[in-house]
């Protein structure tokens, strides 16, 4: 039986259990529904849960655990000549055995007999069925594959029976427990709670898992490069990882990348904050509902554009434009038509990233500004203040903590932004202050280090994890601080 068929059967059993539970509860109420502690539906759900949950749980465990046991058994059945060649070879052969096992299932009995007796070529027979093999295969493989197949089939059969029995047993057990005063409602409630808990812990565990894996790779990196040279190094020159060299000749200084990241984020914020904030003030305070209804979604469309498109825009439009206009300007002033802005520069990346950030700043700030109570506006206007005086002296000060929080959230986006800087910032890792020159960022270098043909045990690639975890730490701190400020501000008006 296939897994989906077993699942379907479990669900059918569950459905039957639901109706059985309902019927039993209705019967035990003796025609007076109010005599029941819980409505019949709850009893039904309770029984169905007993039928489905344990069975599904056992099914899941079995599916996860059985391949492990079967492979172990096959592994120990491999010939000693293979076993003596070390784990790598054993795993390789095991992989081939499974490939063969998979292929054998597609052969009909005649072909199978031919293969097992050795009269037909294993590789050709399998290739005819669309299962490729790396080499001709050896006789022990067919044997091991058959062993594997028989174990698998046996396991599957036992599993199907066991799961079905558990499903029915669960349903019977639950039905026997049903009586009028039985608190099915509360039990169902507890299962609901458990479901919600599991869902939320999956999200949290995933985060923990990602951080954990990044950390473990980063630690491997720090075994070959000392943390102090990474965090305080001023030269980024990772070299190439020549196969087998395993060399640490490269220099992995974080500071030039960090400087570029922060500089570009700063330029982006310099552009996005005033524009975004003014847009938010206009939307929240001046715009008529009709204008607001059209303009606000339009502004927020900007936030929906994939960042690769912005990067492209920077690469083919903004960068060349800045380069050309700088050449013209230079020509007008000095007569020498040489551009002083590079096409790939801090300014290009910052400008385009700023455009990307405008909707974030304006949308978040707009929410915060409209949260300032109307009574404060009225109070100020009632004293004869103009609108802009009211905004400047009452609304913005009241909204300031929230706006600062919004800006920090935006800044953490700017720091983590990848596609725009990959295309527009350049790859030169240097520390300098001229915004017209190219600089590079942490994210660009992560992309650089992980693209291409590479092995995953040299510092040249592992450094990406160290960079990633550093970036993660920075944005996490920014986010936590921002949320802290926003939350503190919320409390004022509630």
């Amino acid at each position: 039986m296939s897994t989906s068929l077993i699942l379907l059967i479990i669900l059918i059993v569950g459905l039957a259990a639901y109706f059985a539970g309902r019927a039993r509860a209705t019967a035990s109420s003796k025609g007076k529904l109010s005599a029941l502690h819980s409505l019949p539906g709850y009893h039904g759900v309770y029984v169905a849960i007993w039928a489905v949950l344990p069975a599904a749980f056992v099914l899941a465990i079995w599916l996860l655990a059985s391949p492990f046991f079967i492979e172990n058994s096959v592994r120990s059945a491999l010939p000693d000549t293979v076993k003596s060649q070390g784990t790598a070879t054993i795993e390789l052969m095991l992989g081939q055995v499974m490939q063969v096992a998979n292929g054998l299932k597609r052969l009909n009995s005649d072909e199978l007999a031919a293969v097992t007796s050795g009269s037909s070529n294993l590789r050709d027979a399998l290739a005819a069925k669309g299962v490729p093999m790396a080499n001709a295969g050896e006789p022990y493989m067919v044997e091991a594959a058959q062993h594997y197949n028989s174990l698998r089939d046996g396991s599957r059969w036992v599993m199907s029976v066991a799961v079905l029995i558990i499903a029915i047993a669960g349903a019977v057990f639950a039905i026997r427990g049903i009586s009028a005063p039985f608190r099915a409602r509360n039990r169902v409630e507890r299962v609901m709670l458990g479901t919600l808990l599991v869902a939320s812990s999956i999200a949290i565990l995933t985060t923990v898992g990602i951080v954990g894996s990044m950390l473990s790779e980063a630690i491997r990196f720090f075994q070959s490069v000392s943390p102090s040279t990474f965090f305080f190094g001023t030269v980024w020159d990772p070299r190439f990882s020549a196969a087998g060299s395993g060399g640490t000749e490269g220099q992995f200084g974080l500071l030039p990348l960090l400087a570029g990241t922060l500089y570009i984020a700063f330029v982006a914020m310099l552009f996005a904050v005033p524009v975004g904030l003014f847009a938010a003030i206009y939307m929240a305070e001046y715009a008529k509902p009709v204008v607001r209804g059209i303009a606000k979604p339009l502004l927020e469309i900007l936030a929906g554009i994939p960042t690769i498109v912005y990067g492209f825009f920077a690469l083919v439009t903004v960068g060349p434009f800045l380069r050309d206009i700088s050449a013209q300007l230079n020509g007008l002033v000095t007569g020498n038509y040489v551009n002083f802005i590079q096409a790939q520069s801090v300014l290009t990346a910052g400008l385009v990233m700023g455009i990307m950030l405008i909707p974030f700043v304006s949308s978040l700030s707009d929410d915060i500004i409209t949260q300032v109570p109307r009574s404060l506006r009225d109070g100020s206007l009632g004293l004869g203040a103009t609108r802009s005086e009211t905004i400047k002296r009452v609304i913005l000060p009241a909204a300031l903590p929230g706006i600062v929080g919004a800006l920090l959230l935006t800044a953490s986006r700017a720091v983590g932004e990848t596609m725009i800087v990959v295309l527009a910032a350049g790859v030169a890792a240097r520390m300098q202050l001229n915004p017209f020159e190219a600089m590079t960022t942490v994210t660009v270098k992560i992309v650089n280090q992980l693209t291409g043909d590479l092995e995953f045990n040299s510092p040249q690639t592992l450094v990406a994890f160290a960079l990633g975890i550093t970036l993660f730490a920075i944005t996490l701190c920014l986010n936590i601080y921002a949320l802290y400020i926003v939350r503190k501000y919320r409390e004022q008006y509630e």
Partner: protein
């Protein structure tokens, strides 16, 4: 003369009510919110240095009328006002009128205390700073002290002027808002149910304050409490369904009103 009780003096003052000049004149005032008409040709005059109470059941248009007096309705997009309202013979809806200047002359105190999230000192100096009424620190100090004195709050807050205004109790906050309005030296003060969010003791203090402010300011107050209207006002106007039903001396209004609806409302038969 000193044998006369205070109540008798008040009564004598009220008798002369008809000779008091008008401060603001409303003629055929109608207000529309979009398609909906909220006020129907109201003719109501406000006398100088008098407390005029606006009463009536919820939704009768009394707050709407109050807000037309300093054009606070302008802040509502869909709102439209027709008719004519004058302040000292100047049409306040004339296009040449500066609404900011108007609101400096006609101050407002709101239903819910709404001090700015700033210090008590800054709350009071907010208006004077905007209008350039005081330049130096000494002048500002002077304005703060006199405004808080007038609002009867000085003794309670003089030692903590630089603490936040939102940290005061509800009654203190409302008196701070009155001080804030007084600091701009308005001629008229509009009050929109100033005591509805306050407890009885704080209410008594604010009422007492209204009584004192009357000597220097013209006051228009919207209230839901008949007793409050009777206690603090000399003139009372009764609104119903967007119409002005009756406007009269407060004494007459509460003892022998001209209109049956006023009688019914005051007796608590509807509203």
């Amino acid at each position: 003369m000193n044998m006369m009780s205070e109540a008798a003096v008040e009564k004598a003052l009220d008798q002369k009510m008809n000779t008091v000049p008008f401060k603001m004149i409303g003629k055929d005032v109608s207000v529309y919110y979009g398609e909906k008409r909220a006020l129907f040709d109201v003719n109501l005059n406000v006398r100088e240095n008098t407390v005029t109470a606006l009463i009536g059941p919820s939704g009768c248009g009394k707050s709407t009328f109050l807000r037309t007096l300093n054009r606070m309705n302008d802040t509502i997009d869909s709102c439209r006002v027709t008719g004519k309202i004058t302040l000292d013979d100047g049409d306040i809806y004339d296009p040449s009128i500066d609404v900011v200047e108007l609101r400096a002359r006609v101050g407002m105190v709101f239903q819910k205390p709404n001090p700015f999230p700033k210090s008590i000192y800054e709350n009071v100096t907010y208006g004077p700073k905007i209008h350039g009424l005081a330049r130096t620190k000494a002048e500002l100090d002077q304005v703060v002290e006199s405004s808080l004195q007038k609002a009867g709050l000085w003794n309670e807050v003089k030692d903590r002027l630089h603490e936040s205004g939102t940290g005061l109790s509800g009654g203190q906050q409302q008196r701070l808002c009155i001080a804030r309005a007084v600091a701009v030296s308005p001629e008229v003060i509009l009050m929109d149910e100033p005591c509805s969010a306050l407890d009885p003791i704080a209410t008594a203090k604010v009422e007492e304050l209204i009584h004192e402010l009357r000597t220097n300011y013209t006051i228009v107050i919207v209230t839901h409490s008949m007793q409050q209207a009777a206690r603090v006002s000399q003139r009372t106007a009764m609104f119903h369904l967007g119409n002005l039903v009756e406007e009269n001396d407060t004494d007459k209004m509460f003892t022998n009103p001209d209109d049956q609806r006023t009688q019914d409302y005051i007796m608590g038969r509807f509203g």
